[in-house]
Each structure stands twice: as C-alpha cells, then as structure tokens.
C-alpha cells in the first residue's frame, strides 16, 4: 500500500514533538471553555491571541520589547565583561581572591529582587537602576565561571607554553583565556536566562514601559488575556536569546565538537 512507505519513515519522537504545543493549546482551550475554571481568570488561547493583537495594534508592543531588550542587553554586557575581568583577576591573583571571594560569597546569594526598594532610592526611576539590577544578576554567575575556568586550565597546557618560550605577559591571552572558554560559556549561557529573571525585578516598580510592566498593568486592570500574552512574549524572547547564544557560542567553544 502507498502509505506503508510513510508509516515506515514516520518518527514517533518527531511526531510527539510537533504535536506537543498544539495539544497543549487544545487542552487549554477545552479547560477554559468547559467552565471548570472561570474563563475570566483563565481565558482561552483565542482570547490571549486577540489581546496580543490589541497590544500590537496599540503601537506599544515594539516599544515595550525594545525597552526591555535594551535593559537586558546593557545589563548583560556590563555584567559579563566585568564578571570575566574580575574572574580572571581572582582566578590568577591569590591576594585578589582572598580579598574579594568572601565579599562576593556574601553578596551573591541575595536575590536581585530584594534590591528593588534600595535601587529605587539610589537611582530613582532612571534606567540606570534597571541596568544595575540586571548587572547584579549576571555579574556573579559570570565571575564564578571565569574564576573557576582560569583555575581549571590544564597545567599541562601551561607547561607546554612555557617550554615553547611563552613570556608571562602572553600567557593570559594565549593559554588561560582560551583554556577557560568552555567554563565561561556555561556561565554566560546561565546568565542569559538570569538576565530575563532580573528584568522582571527591574520592571516591577518605577517604570512606564517594558514587557513585564505591561503584564503588571494588565493584571491591575483585570486584563488577564493581555497578561498571559505578555508572559508568552517574555518566554519566547528568552528562548530565542538562549538559542541564539547557543549557536553563537559554538563558534568559539572548542570543547563542543
């Protein structure tokens, strides 16, 4: 029979993956429509889509996305650059490690969201405060990965370089940094998702645009559909950021084959 061929080549894993999201939406639609839960508090996907349409048509959507991405981008950039530099310093200079590690150990576990009240006092409603919160979330993860990365570089590689006549001044760029790359990349990738978590903290108070700001406002107006659309947008954007980072990082990560 003609369909035998297709049956033979259909991959059960692939089918399940393709059906996963449509099935989820169907189930959601059904639960909302069935009246088991209040459809006002738990609107169906169709309502979420039209809420998204209204958001888009209002002209605020791209503005919100741009503002949020700028906050994430700037915070991430400074958090990771300074994190890598300080990590190399503490990883190689014992005095720096002894001085800084206890302080960082104390500050690192404080959730960025706990800083929101202080940040508002310090920076007012300015964008600097938002950058600061994202920076705070990113910095420690990246610092840790760079710190451990440069320490874990195989001592054999250092010997190889010494034997080939590498001066001390060239050791960092030629051996330590490339050797630590696989660790630093893991840290940076974690920091990508963390920067979206901290974005939420940054937009909780003292702002008038941004994706999470929109979610917050919709909730206050009981526009649950719009709030859910905001959540989905946040999810999709951070997923894209993660994938994008993954593909870019594979170009520099020599340990990924």
């Amino acid at each position: 029979m003609w369909y035998r061929y297709w049956l033979h080549h259909i991959n059960a894993d692939r089918v399940a993956q393709v059906l996963s999201i449509p099935l989820f939406l169907l189930l959601w639609q059904w639960v909302s429509a069935s009246g088991v839960v209040s459809s006002r508090l738990f609107p169906p996907p169709t309502e979420v889509i039209s809420a998204f349409g209204r958001w888009y048509d209002s002209g605020q959507f791209w503005g919100d996305v741009q503002v949020s991405l700028t906050r994430v981008g700037i915070g991430f950039f400074f958090g990771s650059v300074i994190g890598i530099l300080v990590g190399i310093l503490t990883g190689r200079v014992r005095l720096a490690a002894n001085l800084l590690s206890p302080i960082f150990g104390l500050l690192r576990p404080i959730p960025p969201i706990a800083f929101v009240p202080l940040v508002i006092l310090w920076f007012g409603l300015s964008e600097t405060g938002k950058y600061f919160l994202v920076f705070w979330g990113v910095f420690f993860v990246v610092w840790m990965s760079a710190h451990h990365g440069v320490r874990k570089v195989d001592p054999l590689y250092i010997r190889v370089a010494q034997c080939l006549g590498t001066p001390r001044s060239k050791m960092l760029t030629n051996i330590l940094l490339p050797g630590a790359i696989p660790y630093i990349i893991v840290g940076l990738r974690t920091a990508v998702s963390i920067s979206f978590y901290t974005l939420v903290a940054a937009e909780i108070a003292g702002t008038f645009s941004g994706i999470f700001y929109r979610i917050d406002v919709s909730q206050q107006n009981m526009q649950i559909g719009q709030a859910m659309a905001g959540l989905l947008v946040l999810g999709v954007i951070s997923l894209i950021a993660d994938r994008l980072f993954y593909y870019l990082s594979r170009r520099v990560d020599w340990s990924a084959s």
Binding site: L156, Y157, R159, V160, A161, Q162, C163, L164, G165, T166, P167, K170, N174, I175, P178, G179, I181, W254, S255, S257
Partner: protein, 269 residues
Amino acid sequence: MKEKLQTKGHITADSVSIVFDSVGKRNVAVDDASVDIQPGEFVCILGPSGCGKSTLLNAIAGFVQPTQGELTLDGRTIKSPGPDRGMVFQQHSLLPWKTVLQNVAFGPLMNNTGQREADSVARTFLNLVGLGAFESHYPRQLSGGMQQRVGIARALANYPNVLLMDEPFGALDAQTRAIMQENLLNIWEEFKTTVVFVTHDIDEAVFLSDRVVVMSASPGTIIADIKIDLPRPRDALIVTSPEFLDLKRQCLDIIREETTKAFALQNAS
C-alpha cells in the same frame, strides 16, 4: 652532513636528588643521579614505571628544581623552562583550541617571529613529520600517533638544542610505534640535536640510542650506563641482528643483577 659537529646541547647532572614533600611523607623521586650527555647524543633513560624518569626529565626541562645537586645545560644552571629545550610530552598535549598549523607555529610566534615566517617554519616541520596535508585539522580530529608527530614538529619548530621526549610512543600500537621510531631517527640524523628519550621499553631504548641510562625503582637511582655501538643509520630489521640481541641481553643482565642487589640491600636494612 652526518658528521656536522654539534657544539650545543651539553647536559650535565651532578649528584641530582629530587624529593617531593607530600603531607608528612618524604618521597625521593630521584636519588643522587649523575650523567653527562654530549651535544648531539641520543640518550635513552630506561626504567620501570614510577622510578622517577619523568621527574628527571622535567628537571632538565626546568619544571622541577633539584633538591640537591646541580643540572646544567651548556655550562649554565637550569633554572626555568625555555625554548632551547623542546619537549614532547607523555600525554596528549596539543592545544585543543588551535589547529595543527597554529600549534606548530605557536613556538616561533612566542619567540618574536612574525606570523608568516612562523607559519612557513611550521609547514616545513609538518611536512617533515608527513602531516603537511593536515594543517587545518584540529587535534581531536587526528589519531594518537598523528598527534604525537605534530607534538614532535611543534618541539622542533623552535630549533632547540635539546629534544626531551617522555615516553612519546608509549600509548601507540606496536606497528605505529616501530614506524615512529624510524621516523624519529631520520629526523635526528638531519638535525643532530641532543635527545633525551624516556622509555620503559628495552627494545625501544636499544634501537634508538647511543647510550642507555638505566634507572631502578624507588628511590630513583641510575644503576647502569650502557653504550650502544650499533651502526647508523638503523632500520627496523636491526632488531633481529645478533649484535642487537647481544646488547639487549647485556641490558637485561645488568638490570637483573642491579635489581637483585637492590632487593638484597632493601631486605638487609
């Protein structure tokens, strides 16, 4: 050309002892070792696992300082590693983030050679070890034997006076190993650098060297220094010649005799 007179690469060890102080325990890795290695000489250090061969070699490389005694290269005390001593390591040691060409060009580049000149030196040595076609591969894409050949090319690219080799063929199968040994001898005939080659394989030591320095297990002392006056150039068939077998037996006898003596001494004390 074979008689090119080598004047550099003279190594001396004068009563060298190397002790590691690990938590409350003194570990004597090398005990009172003295040798004199002439410029251009091919010397094998032969001994069982753990007898301190790598430690002695690392001290010549400048990674480890003798606890007592003195090591010199061309009359100067060895204090630190340097490009005058090329090293081929026991484990995989190519830098995984660099291509084969970049690995070999790295030494010249670190010694103030320009990029183009360094690449051209690297290509010369890659061709010498027969891997010219693999210059843009990454180390993980090569077999173990190929990686060791790149390692040899890399060590030679600095034109060192001394080549230090730590069981470079230890992880290879017998056939590959035999080919690599012949290759190495050909390369050495051309450059006549001093070679200090560590191995625990008697056949390998006798086949390659001008002299075999035998070490015994803990504490690492030198128990014999045997001259190998087999004709050169040597090829793989020499291992079946009566002269080769005779020298091998000589080595075995000395090792057995010295080991028995050492055991007797240990039992007495």
